[in-house]
Symmetry: C2
């Protein structure tokens, strides 16, 4: 397996983000203006994002340089470890080799920091003073809170109410970084008030929280909006994961047969898989699997069409797999996967049959997470547990076929702030 | 600065534990039999510990080989990172250089795993089937639960009641590893029942929990007792920290002027400091500081005398600094530092003036922890925050004297399971 990355720092961090769609000449459908349903004019997006972010969102370069201050910030935790899950393999009694890229090793405990640092820097560079965002389980909010502090920005986080209640530690951590955290739906925004008027007990959803954060950004001077997944530039930033993993596998002399990530909006899957997809497009046999929750089956049961990214219809419309912008997923513990849509890039790859999607029930993901922590010692985030469940399933299938495959998955975050969910699991109180 | 370690693995893990007292010919006062007050006969200790542990407890070798299976287990997380706290230095506006050894990078989040793995292996090797232990904040219990699972042992943990209530996540994590967790004082032991009879609202203490675990071990066949600090063999195991740190500083061409650790029973301080103390005994200028809580000031205000390690008087008596075996510390959040005694080795070094001790109020340690997480991104355990407070104080003192010192401290664990304490701090509800 050859790596697609032109250069790394001496310690092994890629110096460029990898732009698969530009590199492979894959087409993308343009985002539409919610008012006119015509392709949106870039200046309208400028209300939400700084120029540097928009340039990356629409970049046609295959390799986008990582700014020096972002590389410096990455150096605190990158490259993240690539490990073989030897003891987990033994527990599964599989003949396959399972490797994982451990993004939970970042200071905030997940892959979200990769894009948070890049976005915070690009905003700070253009004089933005505050970022507004939403968060589900809190991993993205924590990452942006830390990144904002690092680059001197204030940060306002709208946190999905069901997660706000389930994960008080996440809120405390964001506040320690200096962020202002509001449970969503809230009465701070028109979108929030409208949702509360319909249902005062609304558990919240990423769709509603995005509406609130977008509204906050466009109504406050000096404030821009930041999104933790879905958009092209977010997926671009996450490709540091897959580039590192390719190089680390090369050093071990190992070739991956399958690459797996959990799927909420698409960023951790894409971050790991895009550099490998280049090889697949070049003819290498490679299975790419997106693992999603059965209770929010965007990729396995959604429609591929233009839809809004949020509930209130404030965002541009993008072409994606969607359960409908009004869909409110069950309050499962994998809050980061409770999203009605999917990244346009991931959707396009799925439509073309370049990746596949599988859905897993909540209890089964906690079962496999327990097996993983007992063998590997690392407690997975409930989101990441979906990737482990898929990797274990691929191993079982390969064993049944007498094949010895190499399966690489993204352990996108640790679950140390999700112990309430694990307690419910141990007590048999999980749906 | 030259390192005292004879050999490392190719990845940089020491292959031997360092026995400072043997190497330097420092004397130790023998443990006494609680019944006779005469030096205890080794076979009596055999009821609590396996032969392999006792040999290490009384070893006269300067370098004790680390068994291969333990080295293999260490390889999952060692060597741990040594980092310069550049951004924290900037926040302190100090001219000193602050380095930290980050033991929170272990799977269970603290240095405790270093000795847990060694002890679990030595017990399993001799056919022991279950380990009984106590835990304060839960870091030790979590480490032993994981290590027991790894080496095929069952594990019973008596957890100090105040911590059991403050940190439910810790209990869940231990249970995920398969351990049985009991709040202490409990009605499962004579020692627990006696304590509850005196006070049904007793918050628990490490002294009481040790009594319960020791009683559990001696009354259950196939069960031995494991201790997470204080004893010679525990301190011995932790010297992997300081040996690695010496080598990592050498690679950077840096010489430490001061070495700092927080102090509960003495193991994380000793683990970092003992290899450096060898150099100090050889004449190198070096300040060693133990940082303890003002509410449990064992080293700064205790007496140096023979005392029991537990409340019920079941353990051998050892010569140490002590607040008295009946002392019940306030239920501060740094539960791992709520111990009336201190390691005999640490006590001897303090008496000889080779190390010094300083005490810090709870609120001041949380203040400095907030400053640290905002700059370095890592949330310190409340215990470890004491080391940061001491390091910051040394930096201030050096600045006032116009000296530019290199200060190394042990960041013994992360605080992600202590967010309840941090929330109390943010809300102004901390004593």
């Amino acid at each position: 397996m050859r790596s697609i990355t032109p250069s790394f720092t001496p310690t092994g961090i890629p110096t460029t983000f990898y732009n698969l769609f530009a590199d492979a000449g894959l087409p993308l459908d343009p985002p539409l203006d919610p008012a006119t349903r015509e392709p949106i004019r870039p200046e309208k997006l400028g209300a939400l994002f700084p120029q540097g972010v928009l340039e990356q969102e629409m970049s046609t370069a295959a390799h986008v340089p990582i700014p020096e201050p972002v590389l410096e910030a990455y150096a605190a935790y990158r490259p993240t470890p690539l490990r073989r899950a030897t003891r987990f393999e033994q527990a599964l009694q599989t003949r396959c080799a399972l490797y994982y890229k451990y993004e939970g090793a970042s200071p905030v405990g997940s892959h979200k920091l990769n894009t948070a640092l890049a976005q915070a820097y690009l905003n700070a560079r253009e004089g933005v003073t505050r970022l507004a965002t939403e968060t589900g389980a809190g991993q993205w909010g924590t990452a942006l809170a830390y990144a904002s502090r690092r680059f001197g920005l204030s940060c306002s986080v709208y946190m999905v109410r069901s997660s706000y209640a389930q994960k008080p530690g996440r809120r405390t951590l964001m506040e320690l970084f200096g962020a202002e955290v509001t449970p969503s739906p809230s009465d701070k925004t028109e979108a929030g008030r409208r949702t509360l008027a319909e249902s005062s007990e609304h558990p919240g959803s990423l769709g509603v929280a995005i509406s609130e954060a977008v509204e906050h950004a466009v109504t406050h001077p000096g404030t821009k909006y930041a999104l933790g997944s879905v958009l092209n530039h977010v997926l671009l930033h996450q490709t540091v994961i897959g580039q590192e993993a390719q190089r680390q596998l090369e050093e071990l002399g190992v070739k991956a047969d399958a690459v797996v990530g959990c799927h909420g909006g698409g960023s951790n899957l894409s971050g790991l898989a895009f550099p490998f997809l280049r090889l697949k497009l070049d003819g290498q046999a490679l299975q790419i699997v997106a693992a999603e929750p059965a209770s929010c089956p965007t990729l396995t049961r959604g429609e591929y069409r233009y839809d809004f990214g949020d509930t209130a219809g404030l965002t541009p419309m993008v072409k994606m797999y969607t359960l409908g912008a009004a869909f409110v997923p069950d309050p499962i513990h994998a809050g980061g996967l409770r999203y009605h849509g999917a990244a346009p890039m991931v959707s396009k790859l799925l439509e073309r049959g370049l990746i596949e999607a599988r859905a897993y029930a909540q209890t089964s993901t906690f079962e496999v997470a327990r097996q993983f922590v007992q063998t590997e010692g690392i407690l997975p985030a409930p989101e990441s547990a979906h990737a482990i469940a898929a990797a274990a399933e691929l191993a079982r299938e390969a064993d049944a076929q007498g094949r010895r495959r190499v399966i690489l998955f993204n352990l996108s975050g640790h679950g140390l702030l999700d112990l309430g969910a694990y307690e419910a699991f141990l007590r048999g109180k999980l749906e």
